[in-house]
């Protein structure tokens, strides 16, 4: 700690801080454009000039490290004049198109010119401003490069965080331009973040360009469910529509970034929505009342034997509806509950998988991933399955020279990663030189992917082999957990916590053909896994693949329309908040199940949200403590003991099929993204690399 004086007031700041941070600690706001806490310092906008005693000229506070006893002055005539001067230079070239700029109302340049700029203009001629050609960065980011003030935040973000090194600057001085030099899209799943970072309206969102003004929006703080990371988001709505989704800060989870799917898939919430209960008549669906639909479902459930009833939960199922569905099925003495991750064959879990939280959680935590110095991925592409966690791995790559290896099909990550083939034998063997590095590492990580669960025996083998390998990592820091499981669906961790997905593979193999199937937002069940004569109920928000199989369709709420609980992949319990009401006759998911329990004559013992949440804590105590990530030492010790006994052999590994990756197209993974036009465009442009056609360019405007 060093002591510095800001406007005469003493503050203690950590050594190596910048003067701007000292000012912030002292409660003095310094205007800035290029400086950003999470990016490298560029020091090129000069907006943050302050006076430092005994310095001959004003200095850029973001690029000035503090020195003991430094006296910073932020409120002198010289500083005011300097700010006005910088502002004047920036505005001399900035177009006056605020009325048609999407960033209007949220623009740093607007705000800071009001506060720190001069109160009159010296400019008289309407011509002579800088003109820069717009760039085509793909279907997500719209450019209006005349507005760019060359702060290079976007360039630094793309290079440091997103690892998309094609974005850069060309030229210098007045001719400096931001772009990809050759015409190229910004191929990263994190590209949308440059929109928030850009202090002006040079980079805005293409999909919803010109559709709102910032001050018309109602803001609701919520949590994302497009993957199992649980990024903090803000849902902005106008009337009955979601207009925009942007990140909130949560240092423990997403810092202040979100993936493009999180940000842009919401237009899928406006298409193919289920708005009324539907009943199948022949080959069409007929709208009906809730009474008729629930009555029919209850009758069908009653007609089946306990063993013949199964339920499958999809990627967006919240904890409240999972526990209600489980309690309801248990009341009927039915135990066969599955998670869509096991789809399409509904094969069940490895025995004991759901017993120990350490088995299915990302034990090292998201923040912890940043410290890793050797990481082995098994059957997972973190870039597609948890883009935000992948940014932490990239940080580890940049800052601790972390080595990466993967047992998976070939994949492209935004850091170096050695491919060890796609056979689990590589894991059991542990012969590759990389394993030496892993064993010597202080913070080794073995990351098992959720795709492994499609084959319970493979998942079990991988888990045991991972523990065996972790045991040989003798150099690991005390308290560090090397074995990690990466979930990719928002519902997964909660489903395991609640014992929802606890049917073992052995038990699942013995069950008779299903007669009554309850799909809670599950769309990926192969029709072949469901007998033709089974009665299928689909409860969910979208008329997607699952609803097409159904006899009765019950319309549920999407994640922007309910207050519900989710557990992220590291076991953090978080709550999403309703920004809107569900469309027409659609209802909260747990309430639908509660109503169904009445119709079935087996009423659930809770009738309020508080009641369900109390029940959640009764089933798994972690639900009582929202927003914490808790270690599971006992479970971990037991998991290691069980694995040690199992002795995974190389011969067994050889007999297992090759590891595959569950996500082949990051942009189209679930009912919401499949119904999103923006995601479809991204899939074309990024996954399939098809250039935007004239037709699409037309509809995009």
């Amino acid at each position: 700690m060093v002591e510095v004086f800001v406007d005469g007031r003493p503050v203690q700041v950590p050594e190596g801080s910048a003067a701007i941070q000292a000012c912030e600690l002292a409660g003095v706001e310094i205007p800035r454009f290029c400086y950003h806490e999470r990016l490298a310092v560029a020091g090129n906008c000069r907006m943050c000039l302050v006076e430092v005693e005994r310095a001959p000229k004003p200095v850029a506070s973001c690029a000035m490290p503090v020195m003991p006893g430094m006296k910073i002055k932020t409120n002198t005539p010289l500083v005011h004049k300097a700010r006005e001067g910088v502002m004047e230079f920036l505005l001399a070239n900035h177009p006056l198109d605020c009325p048609v700029c999407d960033w209007g109302g949220e623009c740093d340049l607007q705000d800071q010119s009001m506060r720190f700029g001069s109160d009159r203009s010296r400019q008289h001629e309407p011509t002579g401003r800088r003109a820069v050609e717009n760039k085509n960065l793909g279907p997500l980011v719209k450019t209006s490069m005349n507005r760019c003030i060359q702060c290079t935040r976007c360039v630094r973000f793309a290079n440091e965080v997103a690892g998309a090194e094609e974005l850069g600057t060309t030229g210098r001085g007045n001719d400096m331009q931001i772009g990809t030099y050759i015409e190229k899209t910004l191929a990263t799943e994190m590209s949308g973040n440059v929109i928030d970072l850009c202090p002006v309206g040079a980079l805005t969102a293409k999909p919803y360009a010109f559709s709102y003004r910032a001050w018309e929006l109602k803001r609701t703080e919520s949590v994302d469910v497009m993957d199992a990371v649980g990024s903090a988001i803000r849902v902005d709505t106008r009337g009955t529509e979601v207009m925009r989704i942007s990140p909130r800060e949560n240092d423990d989870v997403n810092e202040e970034w979100i993936s493009d799917k999180t940000r842009f898939a919401f237009d899928g919430l406006k298409r193919q929505r289920l708005t009324h209960p539907l009943m199948r008549e022949g080959d069409r669906f007929v709208p009906c009342t809730w009474e008729a639909a629930l009555g029919r479902v209850a009758d069908a459930a009653r007609a089946a034997q306990p063993e013949e009833r199964i339920a499958v939960a999809g990627p967006f199922a919240d904890a409240e509806s999972l526990v209600a569905l489980k309690d309801l099925f248990n009341r009927w003495d039915s135990e066969h509950l599955f998670l869509e991750t096991n789809a399409p064959e509904l094969v069940g879990q490895p025995a004991g998988f759901a017993d120990l939280r350490a088995n299915y959680l990302f034990n090292a935590t998201i923040v912890g991933a940043e410290q890793a110095d050797a990481v082995l991925f098994v059957g997972t592409n973190p870039r597609h399955e948890a883009a935000i966690i992948n940014t932490r791995f990239r940080k580890a790559f940049l800052h601790n020279r972390c080595d990466f290896a993967a047992i998976s099909p070939e994949m492209t990550l935004n850091y170096d990663c050695v491919n060890l083939g796609d056979s689990l034998a590589a894991l059991t063997d542990a012969k590759h030189p990389f394993f030496e590095r892993l064993r010597a590492a202080k913070h080794p990580m073995i990351v098992l992917g959720s795709g492994l669960l499609e084959r319970p025996d493979a998942a079990q083998h991988a888990l045991h082999a991972a523990h065996a390998l972790a045991k040989t990592c003798t150099n690991a820091a005390p308290g560090w957990t090397a074995v990690n499981f990466l979930q990719r669906q928002a519902s997964a961790a909660a489903a395991f916590d609640l014992g929802f997905a606890a049917t073992t593979a052995a038990a699942a193999a013995k069950r008779p053909a299903a007669k009554f199937v309850y799909l809670l937002g599950a769309d990926e069940v192969a029709p072949a896994a469901l007998p033709a004569d089974a009665f299928v109920v689909y409860q969910g928000s979208h008329g997607d693949a699952g609803a097409a199989l159904a006899d009765v369709v019950l319309p549920g709420a999407a994640y922007t329309e309910k207050s519900a609980t989710y557990v992220n992949t590291e076991g953090r319990v978080q709550r999403v908040r309703a920004a809107l009401t569900p469309p027409l006759a659609a209802r909260d998911d747990w309430a639908i199940l509660r109503a169904l329990s009445e119709f079935a004559g087996t009423p659930l013992p809770y009738a309020s949200v508080q009641g369900v949440r109390a029940r959640l804590a009764e089933v798994a105590p972690s639900f009582a403590a929202p927003n914490v990530q808790a270690a599971q030492p006992t479970a971990l010790a037991v998991a290691a003991a069980v694995a040690a006994k199992a002795k995974p052999s190389k011969a067994k590994a050889k007999a297992l099929p090759a590891v595959t990756l569950p996500v082949t197209d990051f942009y189209l993974t679930d009912a919401i993204s499949r119904n999103s036009r923006t995601m479809a465009q991204c899939s074309r442009a990024f996954t399939h690399q098809i250039a935007e056609s004239a037709h699409e360019a037309h509809i995009a405007v």
């Binding site: 248990n330 004991g352 939280r357 052995a506 972690s622 270690a631 006992t634």
Partner: protein, 94 residues
């Protein structure tokens, strides 16, 4: 301890709640560490949900057929007492 035949036909799920560090959960923690593998080996299909959360009371829930549940408080008990009480719970038929 042998778990052969110890679990009743109607037991569907066993849930064990404990604190990671609290002294009141020490007995249950020790029980889980020593007995879980044996119990699991005998009943691989029975979910035994071990759930740790800071500050919770050591407890066990048995869920039996038709969703009937029994709750047991194990706070402050020794490993032997935990084992005895749990044996009783899993052997009962709700």
């Amino acid at each position: 301890m042998s778990w052969k035949g110890a679990v009743s036909q109607t037991l569907r799920e066993l849930r064990l709640h404990m604190c990671q560090t609290g002294p009141g959960s020490a007995g249950l923690r020790a029980f889980v560490q020593t007995e879980y593998p044996a119990l699991k080996a005998q009943y691989p299909d029975l979910p035994v949900l071990v759930r740790e959360a800071a500050g919770v009371e050591a407890r066990a829930y048995g869920r039996f057929a038709h969703g009937r549940e029994q709750r047991l408080t194990l706070e402050g008990l020794s490993q032997q007492d935990v084992a005895a009480k749990l044996k009783q719970l899993v052997a009962s038929s709700a």
